[in-house]
């Protein structure tokens, strides 16, 4: 059911349906091309160019006094929203096909469904000997009546023949758009623009179709439409839609005023106006627009849907659900409201009802990829283990739960207690936390589509979805950091009534990670210092917009976390609480800052600059691009530059790498050592610490290699390879603190490594921490360890240490089932049943 580029091809073989098509085989295309352009089409073309004046002129100057002129006039009236006037003009023209079509569409648009359908049915049933305009009428009627296959068959026929007709290509694009085939739609709009580069519906359609995948191209299309048709209400509707998405509500309202200046009584305009009004006010503020739209068409859910969409974008999912319920009530037979409601319910945790709504939607519109994906995802979710714990409901796969739950639940409890204390706030629950073993399920849970590369977790207020460590797409990550981060969002979103700006909620979550574990949330220190060196940091003014730019978003998170830290430094926790409360009351940054800190935004900007300069200034200086440029292979020049610029990291690394290439390890070590001193956070396998560690291993200095790896892991907390190497090295060196540290780090990053849990458990038991040992041994056993006899005996010994003799006996028997002569298990058994005083024989 997934849509792809194959749909066009698939549909092209759909049998032509209906009498009309059978009659149309006579191929009248050539006739139409030779005839003079009919008035209605000329007017439609002028309107398609957004040129209302030209359309009016054509009508006024027409010498035809009959129905054709009346229809053309009605088209202009419809464009201007003078719907009653148009209806009155069209109603008497029962024999004119254009009039019947437009009247039918008009009636549907006003909620007079039976009348509209009857008229459109006449178009389908009575057509014969059709020209291109006739086919186009047929396609539009079929589309409006929901006969998608018929409409597509017609477009398939005229679309491939009438490549010079922008209205045909654009109409076909609209049909693809309606069936969620964005790529196909974009192709049709491009075909339309080839036929007529000024065809506004195609420019706007392309802008919509390309918005997800090619936002820059989409923006260019809209800009072109604005340039070509600066008075077109359709252009300003889309402009307002984009402005709403950018949360520029004042601009959106101004754009909608331009729509209203040309076109009155537009439900689309009312819908967006309602969204803008709600966004800056309350749900009640949108009621007049809801009422006005209902008067125009009581069965049109557009206003409720726009409100729901806006509420969702503002993370006010409870409001979104309320609005979507209004949409469903308004138009129960339409798919969109049901899919909206299902989607929003997923974000408020109402998964059972969400499934019902999504299934209803899918029955009404089987082309909706997102709904299909969500239903598939719910199938996955249905098999998850559900664990209720205090304010939390956890859902995780049956495979992961036996291990992950033991770590995730205590961590979530700890985070909750910490945040309640810090933010002085108890969030609305239950807090649903879903942890997915495959990234695409997480992506669908979050955005309806697979992909979402780069995201690891998402919070919708009291619903959290996140990747499990098994879902890592490219590299390892700290799932614990992600969980800590997302739970912070629950508090900051709810405490601010979902009005906290994104930079602050993300900044606080990232900063909370750092507070919990120093390297968490600070993975991009080197990149940030390099940005500072280039003078490219954002500061508060550009921070919000940087979150909307995919190329900047990672660094925006980083800087936001620094800003959050600075805000707490200068105002304490009370100031953070005050900020959230101010946003909840509707304040903007200046007012909220003034109340929290007694300072204006510019003063805080200045102190923040000083804060970052103090923390990263030296590192930024070391990361400045060196001069002069030297070729990679020019060892002598690289050496000279490194000597001349001992404080420049890049010079030292370039020379070190060249020396390494030349097999001069001593020189490489000197250069990398200087680089390491200049940039302590420089991690990664190409960084100075990793290279120095490799060189230390090569010369047999394992202690030095271990020291370097230990340092790396202080900064690069998610470097699983370095952690595993440190486990091996520290075990060889019998360096107990390093063994404990590295085992814990590996278990944090890869909790599904049974042997690591066994090793950790044994160390915990040796350190007389049987509770922690139990946790590790249980994890090892759940994961299928290398040696079951060992694993059961380990667990039994931990039980014995805690005095749980029956449990110890059970585990001893389990071990002896595998290996009846296993001495350690035998001794455990004897101790558990009181035959000896000791534990195992290890």
């Amino acid at each position: 059911m997934k849509h792809s580029g194959g749909l066009r091809k698939l549909w092209s073989v759909t049998a032509l349906i209906g009498v009309a098509l059978a009659a149309a085989v006579a191929a009248p295309h050539g006739q139409a091309a030779q005839a003079p352009v009919p008035l209605a089409r000329a007017v439609r073309t002028a309107l398609g160019h957004g040129n209302l004046d030209e359309a009016k002129r054509l009508v006024q100057q027409s010498r035809d006094a009959g129905p054709k002129k009346t229809v053309a006039g009605a088209l202009v009236a419809i464009y201007e929203g003078k719907l009653d006037e148009a209806r009155a003009a069209l109603a008497p023209l029962a024999t004119d096909d254009d009039a019947v079509l437009e009247l039918g569409l008009l009636e549907l648009g006003r909620g007079r469904t039976a009348e509209g359908e009857a008229l459109l049915r006449r178009i389908i049933d009575s057509q014969s000997d059709l020209d291109t305009d006739g086919f186009l009428r047929l396609a539009r009627a079929a589309d409006a009546l929901g006969e998608i296959n018929l409409a597509n068959s017609v477009f398939q026929r005229i679309g491939s023949a009438d490549t010079d007709r922008a209205d045909v290509q654009s109409g076909w694009g609209d049909l693809f758009d309606k069936t969620h085939a964005a790529a196909e739609a974009a192709r049709s709009y491009q075909d339309a623009l080839k036929a007529d580069p000024a065809w506004i519906p195609a420019l706007l359609g392309a802008a919509r179709a390309l918005d997800d995948d090619e936002p820059a191209a989409a923006a260019a299309m809209l800009a072109k439409a604005q340039e070509l048709a600066p008075k077109s209400p359709d252009v300003w509707l889309l402009t307002a839609e984009r402005q709403l998405a950018q949360q520029d509500f004042a601009a959106a309202t101004a754009s909608l005023d331009k729509v209203r200046a040309v076109r009155s009584h537009s439900i689309d305009e009312l819908a967006l106006r309602a969204a803008a009004t709600y966004a800056t006010g309350t749900p009640r503020d949108a009621e007049p627009m809801i009422a006005e739209a209902a008067a125009l068409n009581p069965g049109n859910p557009a206003v409720y849907r726009a409100l729901g969409n806006q509420a969702s974008q503002l993370y006010r999912f409870d409001d979104a659900v309320t609005f979507a319920r209004g949409a469903v009530k308004t138009a129960p037979g339409m798919a969109g409201p049901h899919s909206d409601l299902g989607t929003y319910l997923l974000r408020t945790g109402g998964e059972t009802e969400a499934r019902t709504e999504l299934e209803t939607s899918f029955k009404l519109d089987p082309y909706d990829t997102i709904v299909f994906n969500l239903l598939q995802m719910l199938d996955v979710l249905e098999k998850f283990q559900v664990i209720e714990d205090g304010p939390f409901i956890f859902k995780m796969s049956q495979a992961s739960a036996p291990v992950l739950a033991n770590y995730a639940i205590p961590l979530a409890r700890e985070a909750y207690a910490e945040y309640v204390k810090r933010y002085g706030f108890t969030p609305k629950g239950p807090i649903l936390i879903e942890i997915f073993d495959d990234h695409d399920s997480f992506a669908v849970r979050t955005a309806g589509l697979p992909g979402l590369i780069g995201a690891l977790g998402a919070c919708f207020g009291h619903v959290i979805a996140m990747d499990s460590p098994k879902a890592a797409v490219n590299d390892t990550f700290s799932w614990q950091g992600t969980l800590w981060h997302e739970i912070a969002h629950v508090f900051t979103l709810q405490a601010s009534d979902y009005r906290v700006p994104r930079w602050l909620t993300e900044g606080l979550s990232q900063y909370e990670e750092h507070r919990k574990s120093a390297p968490w949330g600070r993975e991009l220190t080197m990149q940030y210092a390099a940005m500072m060196a280039r003078g490219e940091t954002f500061a508060l003014k550009r921070l919000s917009e940087s979150f909307k730019n995919p190329s900047r978003i990672a660094m925006a998170y980083f800087e936001a976390s620094l800003l959050a830290e600075h805000l707490e430094d200068i105002g304490g926790t009370a100031a953070l609480r005050s900020l959230l409360a101010s946003y909840a009351a509707g304040a903007k940054d200046p007012e909220a800052f003034s109340k929290a800190f007694g300072k204006g935004v510019p003063e805080i900007e200045a102190s923040f600059r000083a804060f970052t300069a103090e923390r990263y200034g030296a590192l930024a200086t070391a990361l400045k691009p060196p001069a002069p440029d030297v070729a990679d292979g020019d060892l002598a020049a690289l050496k000279a530059r490194a000597a001349a610029q001992p404080g420049n990291y890049i010079s030292q690394m370039s020379y070190g790498n060249a020396a390494l290439e030349a097999r001069d390890n001593d020189e490489a070590v000197k250069a990398f050592t200087r680089a390491a001193a200049l940039a302590p956070p420089a991690g990664g396998e190409d960084g100075p610490f990793a290279l120095l560690a490799n060189l230390a291993i090569q010369r047999g200095d394992k202690a030095e290699a271990a020291r370097l790896l230990r340092h790396m892991l202080d900064y690069g907390h998610d470097d699983l390879a370095a952690a595993r190497t440190l486990v091996n090295l520290s075990t060889e060196l019998n360096n107990a603190p390093y063994i404990d540290f590295s085992l814990l780090r590996v278990a944090d990053l890869d909790p599904f490594d049974a042997d690591i849990h066994s090793q950790l458990g044994r160390r915990e038991l040796a350190a007389n921490r049987p509770d922690r040992a139990l946790l590790e041994f249980k994890a090892a056993l759940a994961l299928g360890p290398s040696n079951l006899a060992d694993a059961h005996t380990d667990l039994g010994e931990a039980y014995l240490k805690k005095g749980q003799k029956d449990d110890a006996k059970r585990e001893a028997f389990a071990a002896l089932e595998q290996a009846p002569t296993f001495a350690r298990a035998q001794d455990l058994l004897l101790a558990a049943i009181g035959r000896t005083s000791g534990g195992g024989a290890r």
Binding site: V473, D475, L691, L829, A841
Partner: protein
């Protein structure tokens, strides 16, 4: 660069008297041919040298193989080693197959590179290579048990060429199309001495246990290389002679002979203390009773079986504990 620093070393198993009463004693002599083939480049040469050294140490020092029973051929021979050429391989196998008697065991392990040209699978030697069928022919007249382990890429066809009665054939891959460097060699070498490979805790590692543990290590290695790294090798074992091998975690008829085959030495001396002798005999008797009870499990009620089993196991544990206390 720091992605992997080798396997975590497992403790070498000690060969302990009395502690493994259930182990099947091998009454014949043990022979081994270890071949480290052409390495190709310096990194492979270093890795292969490390592996062959470990392997030689295992057979010579831990398994106590008679020096005359162990032949080592390498790409860059050190003292006591021969050159890994086809001529030397043929000579070594001629010598060993002539020496091996029906109750003896011959262990052959190949380290290095393998290839598949669409017709023949070859183990790459210094100079001309030998095909799987060549190896089959050279070992055709082995009178005793044969353990043949090819740890190289594209080694799958060696199963068909070598399989037969009283033979255990292990290959790193299950199809000749698996042509990438394997990690199975490293894993198998480690498995022969890893205490965690000893699944039944009898203080010995059977060929099945080594194969199963090495398979697990291979899987872990690929998992640890990253979520998008797909394993390019699947090790298999055949020991029923039909040439249809099985994987360690899959279904299959193979495994019995390999579970009963060991390359280590069992010190089978008896204690001088008569009381201890009696205790050891009782210990051995109890192990046999546990084994016998297991075989009757299907015919018994679950509760009856459990009760009988627990009684035996507790007695075995008690006697074994006393034996250990005495030996100390």
């Amino acid at each position: 660069m720091l992605r992997r620093c080798g396997w975590m070393a497992g403790a070498v198993l000690a060969v302990v008297a009395f502690a493994a009463p259930a182990a099947v004693a091998q009454t014949g002599q043990r022979y081994a041919l270890l071949v480290e083939g052409a390495s190709g480049d310096e990194p492979h040469a270093e890795l292969q040298r490390k592996q062959i050294n470990l392997l030689v140490s295992r057979f010579r020092d831990d398994y106590k193989l008679d020096a005359n029973h162990l032949i080592v051929l390498t790409s860059a021979p050190q003292p006591g080693e021969g050159k890994a050429t086809a001529v030397e391989v043929k000579a070594a196998l001629a010598k060993l197959t002539a020496a091996v008697q029906p109750l003896d065991t011959l262990f052959v392990l190949l380290l290095g590179h393998g290839s598949w040209d669409g017709t023949d699978a070859k183990f790459n030697l210094v100079g001309p290579d030998l095909t799987s069928d060549d190896w089959g022919g050279l070992l055709k007249n082995t009178a005793g048990k044969l353990v043949f382990v090819n740890t190289t890429a594209a080694s799958a066809p060696f199963v068909k060429s070598l399989a037969g009665p009283n033979r255990i054939v292990i290959t790193a891959t299950n199809t000749p199309a698996q042509k990438f460097d394997t990690v199975f060699a490293d894993a198998f070498v480690q498995a022969l001495g890893a205490s965690t490979a000893d699944l039944d805790k009898d203080q010995r590692i059977s060929m099945w246990e080594a194969f199963a543990y090495a398979t697990r290590l291979v899987r872990q290695t690929y998992e640890q290389r990253g979520p998008n790294v797909m394993s390019t090798e699947t090790a298999v074992l055949d020991d029923d002679g039909d040439g249809t091998p099985r994987q360690a975690t899959g279904d299959g008829k193979d495994g019995t002979l390999a579970s009963l085959t060991f390359m280590d030495a069992v010190v089978a001396s008896r204690p001088a203390d008569p009381e201890l002798q009696q205790m050891v005999q009782r210990q051995e008797q109890l192990v046999l009773e546990v084994d016998a009870l297991k075989k009757k499990k299907a015919q018994m009620g679950a509760d009856d079986y459990r009760q009988a089993w627990e009684t035996l196991i507790i007695e075995l544990a008690t006697v074994s504990h006393e034996v250990r206390a005495r030996i100390k």
